[in-house]
Structure formats: structure tokens, C-alpha cells
């Protein structure tokens, strides 16, 4: 019988900077929390069009988004951290997208995948919303029509960078409140 081989080349996330002592490790709370959040983001795939197909490829085995912690997708906004809007959003869909965004709990991030979600794409017409940032605040835009799975993963990694660097008090700051008020969200 051949001997069992275990995967010995495991990558771990680097620990944040801190002060180590005999049996303890101190660091900033925001860094520890950011690290935990970034490596276990639960996305909501709001897939409408072709970019949704590219997302399916990204979640599949070859490009595997689950390596980055996005193992558990849910279609419920109540349980997700990140909403990935992938595809053309028409003007009829815009209030629905806004309603889904409102149902998310803080902290929440938004990623606009593809040209249509970022700016309306090639559909400069009476029925297509010219970019989801007309109805919800967006954190990361991934350009492409459709973007390759590597590009979607890159966008996800930028979201992870934002999450790691976010301060604990950001969601209560005046700037953030002003941003949400600009969209008519309390």
C-alpha cells in the first residue's frame, strides 16, 4: 500500500503586526477583526447576466473563489457581507437592488462586476441603469465585458484589502453617514 501523503505546503495568513510575549500577543483590535473578516467574506452573488456566468466559472474548481474564504454563498442579504452585482441592471430592477442592499447588515461591501454594473456598459439606452452607483454606494468596480475570473478574483482581493484596513469606527463616522444620505439611505 502506498503511504498516505499529506499536503505539507500549507499557506497561512500572516499575523498582523503586534507585540508578542510569553503566551500572549497584542495587536490592534481593528487589525485582528479585519483579518478575520477579510478571510471569511460571505458574498451574495447578485448575478443578472453574462458576468454571472463568469462568476460561476470563478466559483468552480479551476479558479476557485473559495480559496479566499468565500466558500459560503448565500442568496439572503440578511446573512451576507458582500454583494457582488454582476450583470446589467435595468431601471426596473434598480429599486429591487436598493431593497436588497437595505436588507444587508453593517458591515457591508458592494462590488460592481463588469461594465454594465459599473456604468451601464454598452447598453446606453432608455431602459438600462447607467451604473449601480446611481442607487447604492459601491466599493470596488471590476471592469471587463465580461471580466475574466482572474479579474473577479482580483476585485475580491481588493475588497479584502479594504476590509483589512477598515477602522472599527468607520460605519459610525460622519463621512459614512453623509455618503449614505447622498443615496437616500438612513
Amino acid at each position: 500500500m502506498r503511504p498516505v501523503t499529506h499536503n505539507t505546503k500549507i499557506k497561512t495568513v500572516e499575523a498582523p503586526q503586534g507585540f508578542t510575549g510569553e503566551g500572549f500577543f497584542t495587536t490592534k483590535l481593528s487589525e485582528a477583526v479585519g483579518l478575520a473578516r477579510a478571510n471569511s467574506m460571505w458574498p451574495l452573488p447578485f448575478a443578472t447576466s453574462c458576468c454571472g456566468i463568469e462568476f460561476m466559472a470563478t466559483m468552480a474548481a479551476h479558479y476557485d473563489l473559495a480559496r479566499f474564504g468565500a466558500e459560503r454563498l448565500s442568496f439572503s442579504p440578511r446573512q451576507c457581507d458582500l454583494i457582488m452585482v454582476m450583470g446589467t441592471i435595468s431601471k426596473k430592477m434598480a429599486p429591487i437592488l436598493r431593497q436588497v442592499y437595505l436588507q444587508m447588515a453593517e458591515p457591508r461591501w458592494v462590488m460592481a462586476v463588469g461594465a454594465c454594473a459599473s456604468s451601464g456598459g454598452i447598453f446606453d439606452s432608455y431602459s438600462v441603469l447607467q451604473g449601480i452607483d446611481q442607487v447604492i454606494p459601491v466599493d470596488v468596480y471590476v471592469p471587463g465585458c465580461p471580466p475574466r475570473p482572474e479579474a473577479i478574483i482580483d476585485g475580491f482581493m481588493r475588497i479584502q484589502d479594504l476590509v483589512k484596513a477598515e477602522s472599527i469606527r468607520r460605519r459610525e463616522s460622519d463621512e459614512y453617514k453623509a455618503l449614505l444620505n447622498g443615496y437616500g439611505i438612513q
Partner: protein, 165 residues
């Protein structure tokens, strides 16, 4: 059942009310008076020889230059048993675009007429529920008419030189 035979049957039944017979790509096409559309379609549907019982499509076209007859409503019917298609056009004035509804005869005409209403403003008389079907409910104009541009008019960030709108 050739196109000639169908044409002859229609002329025998309706005489001067059906006209402008053409055969683009082999598909018999004719026009009729605006308030005669239902009678012609009922005849095509019920006649034992003709049996055009399947409504393929119902659309509208806007011809801004035909004063008095700007909106055309186009019906495409099919005889499934003999695999023949036929096209019927009725023209109506854009100021008062009333056309009798075909939804009592063909159930598919229900949504197809809602679409023609939504995009062109054709008012189908007798339709059970003539409201917008695809556009936003609050939209107050009919987008596919020729006077409206295709592009979104409220954008401020597109450079007109580069994008030629």
C-alpha cells in the same frame, strides 16, 4: 395551398378591403382597413381551408413620414398543418391610435399587445388589461417612437465627441 389561392380567397371574401398584396421572401403580406383587422383574422382563423390558427407575432412600427397613418400594427399568422405563414398590416393615425384587440381570438395577443402599447402607444380597444409590460411603470412616454433617441439622455459623463450620440 399556395399564396395565390390564399390571396384569391381573401379577395373573394373581402373585396376592396384587402389590398397591397406582396410576397417578400415568399411570405404573403397584405394590408387591410384599421377597423377590419379582427374580421380578417377571424376569417383566417375559422375558415376550414385556411386554418391560420397560430399567432406568431404582433408588433408595431412607427413611420413618422406617413401622415395620418404613422403607426402600423403587424400580425404574423401561421398555419401549422400546412406550414404557411402570412402577414397582415393595419395602419393607424398616431393622434388616435385605436385598433381592435385580438386577445379574444388569440390568447398570446394579450401580452404582445401590451408590449406594442408600452413601446409605441397603440391603444387596443377592448383589451382586458392594457398597461405597461416591460418598461418602468412610471414612464410617461413611448420609447420606441422615432422622435426619442435610443441613448440615455441624462448622462453627463460621456464625451459626445468620442461617443457620437
Amino acid at each position: 395551398m399556395t399564396n395565390e389561392e390564399i390571396k384569391q380567397k381573401l379577395i373573394d371574401k373581402f373585396g376592396e378591403l384587402v389590398y397591397h398584396f406582396e410576397e417578400p421572401y415568399g411570405m404573403l403580406t397584405f394590408e387591410t382597413e384599421t377597423n377590419n383587422n379582427l374580421k380578417v383574422m377571424t376569417f383566417l382563423n375559422d375558415d376550414a381551408d385556411l386554418e391560420f390558427t397560430y399567432l406568431n407575432d404582433l408588433t408595431a412600427v412607427h413611420y413618422p413620414d406617413n401622415k395620418g397613418k404613422e403607426l402600423a400594427v403587424v400580425y404574423m399568422l401561421q398555419n401549422i398543418k400546412k406550414s404557411i405563414r402570412i402577414r397582415l398590416k393595419v395602419f393607424t393615425d398616431i393622434q388616435k391610435p385605436d385598433v381592435f384587440t385580438a386577445s379574444n381570438l388569440f390568447s398570446t395577443a394579450n401580452w404582445l399587445e401590451r408590449e406594442a402599447y408600452d413601446f409605441f402607444g397603440v391603444n387596443f380597444v377592448g383589451h382586458p388589461n392594457l398597461i405597461r409590460i416591460m418598461n418602468v411603470d412610471e414612464m410617461d412616454y413611448h420609447p420606441l417612437r422615432k422622435e426619442y433617441a435610443l441613448e440615455e439622455q441624462t448622462r453627463t459623463d460621456k464625451d459626445d465627441d468620442m461617443f457620437g450620440r
